[in-house]
Amino acid sequence: MDDKRHLISVIVQNKAGVLARVAGLFSSRGFNIDSLAVGETEDPELSRVTMVTRGDEAVIEQIRKQLNRLIDVLRVHEFRSGEDYVERDLLLLRVNAPPGKRGEIMQVADIFRGKIVDVGVRHLMIELSGPESKINAMIDLMRPYGIKEMVRSGRIALARGNKSV
């Protein structure tokens, strides 16, 4: 099985039960959703669900068609490599920052254009957004200091230019 990563964006009616329907198409096949982000769109009656999943091309194609068949789904789009779009994760990370290390850590955060959003006696909280690779790179650099806690949002993505999904 070619377990390619797929980034799928779905416009749905903002109603109870919609997310369960969407997620159900994956779970009933034993598919994991690696990341999931849901939020309102420019139209408050609609939400955008962005999902990252892994799977065989044929199975994903079938899921896409079945998503389209759901009554509460208006549009389904898969972002493919070569397409012009922006994708972002958001990270909040609390790292050990004793006074001696603080400057160093802030410098690393700065290189990634992370923001310091909370400062404690012995820790810093950093906010970072960007593509997955950038987030992973900063996490790797923070590990030696001791990451106390972190949270990542689901991936979100939007096409560039005039094309809208």
């Binding site: 009616q13 039960g17 369960a20 329907r21 194609e61 068609k65 009554i71 789904v73």
Partner: protein
């Protein structure tokens, strides 16, 4: 005008042309029944909610109209589940109405609460929980529209008790508009042209049509395609009747228990024209060995059916009736002499036969067919009885077979037959049953008798869960684990009589014809216990996972 939720429900249903509801009451729906029973709608009380769902299903399949069933919350709703799943699998338009606890109690483990929309989400085309009486009319209209359009299916509406009892003075506005729901009905012109070109240039084409043709009311267009294009036709179980079973170009059913001719035809064809069918594994057998030489045209209203199991070369998404009309306009006469000669050779070499020495189920089916009319409706249960009915009854019209094809639900046939009889008064309706399946909804004898629905039940009684026993015989060294029912089967004649129906027993071959004729003449419901040859098998058979031309048994 102020109306209670239950009254709004009544008005929307009457407005949609609903004349019958199969419903079983309970605490959460007493106010609904209280209103409906006073209305022009006929209320039918089954003896189990599963019966209600299958009755609504049988009513819908036989009439083409939406079937409506109604239950209380909790156990009433969960008892509908098998019937809803059965309807979903076979694309049957159904409205399932369930009572629910009062909205403030939802989620609190209230008495007889179940998360009905959660439970039925994967087995409905769509479902709704109505939390405000102001949304009720619109929701019901949407539900009916969704259930009956595109690829039809069951839609469930969950009605909390306080919604059906509170009042609203709004109007039910006209058209429904659902932004995310636009079934694609018109086929793409270029695809239609490509399909017609492929047909015109094919030497060995075969039409493989399913229940979708019947749903789309496209049987005439199918007949024209076969005739004008000079193409042989095979049908799935649910497609039977889409082309009359006695048409010269009909090859019989295909697949696991299909005819040798149909299966060979598929395997040697250079073009398969699939219409309203979904390449189910009981049809294709081993997928990588299916129709190795064929290009595939697939006409279907549901894009998810296309290239799901088998890669399709020319998909045409849309309504089969309008697409076939367009395709038919582009057909050229082609002789295909060699192809039809080959088919005649297969037919002659592999006729459907069985040994006639004892009381054989195939013979019973043939006799039921002999005593039938074109519009006779045949429901089946699941198992050997279902396959014998499909193989040996000549279905001559669409909507005359009621069978659980996709889910394979034992206990479907009898309530479905009753539902069909409600929808088609005056027509002869049979349930061809097994002794195992019949006992799954045998309590509906009370419904048939109580409403005087003259359904005839032919139990092909082998005292076994026959189809499972057949697999055990062929693939499990005859170890009949938990399939022998004989010792504890009831006396079906007495059971029928105890419910007030007419019961008969047939043990000899030469009694069959008279018994069938007597049943047809009898005014009320009849049960005939046919004591058939216990270990008769359904042949031919393609063992699961084999290529469909690797048939065993019954090959002369």
């Amino acid at each position: 005008m102020q109306r209670k939720g239950a009254e709004i429900l009544r008005d929307v249903l009457i407005d949609a042309g609903v004349d019958t509801i199969f419903g079983y009451p309970g605490g959460a729906v007493i106010p609904v029944f209280d209103v409906l029973v006073e209305s022009s709608i006929r209320m039918v009380l089954p003896r189990h909610e599963q019966g209600a769902a299958h009755m609504a299903d049988g009513y819908a399949r036989a009439t083409g109209k939406i079937g409506v069933c109604l239950s209380t919350s909790g156990p009433g709703a969960t008892n509908l589940v098998t019937g809803i799943a059965t309807a979903a699998f076979d694309s049957v338009p159904m409205l399932a109405l369930t009572g629910q606890v009062k909205t403030p109690l939802i989620g609190n483990d209230a008495f007889q609460e179940a998360d009905t929309t959660g439970i039925t989400r994967p087995i409905t085309k769509h479902n709704y929980l109505v939390k405000d009486v102001r949304d009720l009319a619109r929701t019901l209209k949407e539900a009916i529209h969704i259930a009956t359009s595109g690829r039809p299916g069951p839609v469930l509406v969950d009605l909390p008790l306080d919604v059906s009892t509170s009042s609203w003075d709004g109007e039910i506005s006209g058209e429904v508009s659902i932004p995310g729901y636009r079934p694609n009905t018109v086929g793409h012109v270029r695809q239609i042209k490509a399909a017609a070109d492929a047909i015109n240039s094919s030497e060995r084409p075969v039409i493989y049509a399913g229940g979708g043709v019947i749903i789309a009311d496209a049987h005439q267009e199918l007949a024209e395609l076969a005739e004008k294009g000079n193409i042989p036709v095979t049908l799935t179980l649910l497609g039977l009747g889409a082309l009359p079973g006695d048409s010269p170009r009909f090859l019989g059913m295909l697949g696991m228990h299909g005819t040798a001719t149909a299966n060979y035809c598929i395997q040697e064809s250079d073009l398969i024209i699939a219409i309203g069918a979904r390449f189910d594994d009981r049809i294709t057998g081993r997928i990588d060995a299916f129709a190795p030489h064929a290009k595939i045209v697939h006409i279907d209203i549901d894009p998810t059916s296309i290239s799901k199991n088998i890669r399709v070369h020319i998909p045409v998404v849309g309504d089969a009736k309008s697409i076939l009309r367009e395709v038919n306009k582009l057909l050229k006469p082609v002789e295909r002499k060699g192809w039809f000669e080959r088919i005649s050779m297969w037919r002659a070499k592999h006729p459907m036969t069985f040994k006639e020495n004892t009381l054989k189920p195939q013979y019973v089916v043939q006799e039921i067919c002999r005593a039938s009319r074109e519009d006779t409706i045949i429901a089946t249960e699941v198992g050997q009885n279902q396959m014998w009915a499909a193989q040996y009854y000549c279905f001559r019209r669409p909507r005359t077979i009621l069978s659980s094809g996709g889910l394979g639900t034992m206990g479907y046939g009898f309530p479905a037959a009753i539902g069909a009889q409600f929808g088609c008064p005056g027509r002869l309706v049979w349930d061809i049953a097994g002794d195992g399946s019949f006992q799954m909804n045998i309590q509906e004898l009370a419904t048939a008798v109580g409403y005087n629905q003259p359904v005839k039940v032919a139990i092909l009684n082998n005292g076994f869960l026959g189809m499972v026993r057949q697999w055990q015989e062929l693939f499990f060294n005859k170890r009949y684990a938990c399939t022998d029912l004989m010792a504890n089967n009831p006396d079906f004649v007495k059971v029928a009589e105890a419910y007030g129906a007419h019961g008969m027993r047939v043990t000899e071959r030469d009694q069959v014809r008279d018994a069938v004729e007597e049943a047809v003449k009898t005014e009320g419901p009849v049960v005939i216990d046919f004591r058939i040859d216990r270990e008769e098998n359904v042949f031919p058979m393609v063992p699961a996972g084999e290529a469909i031309d690797r048939m065993i048994g019954g090959m002369a």
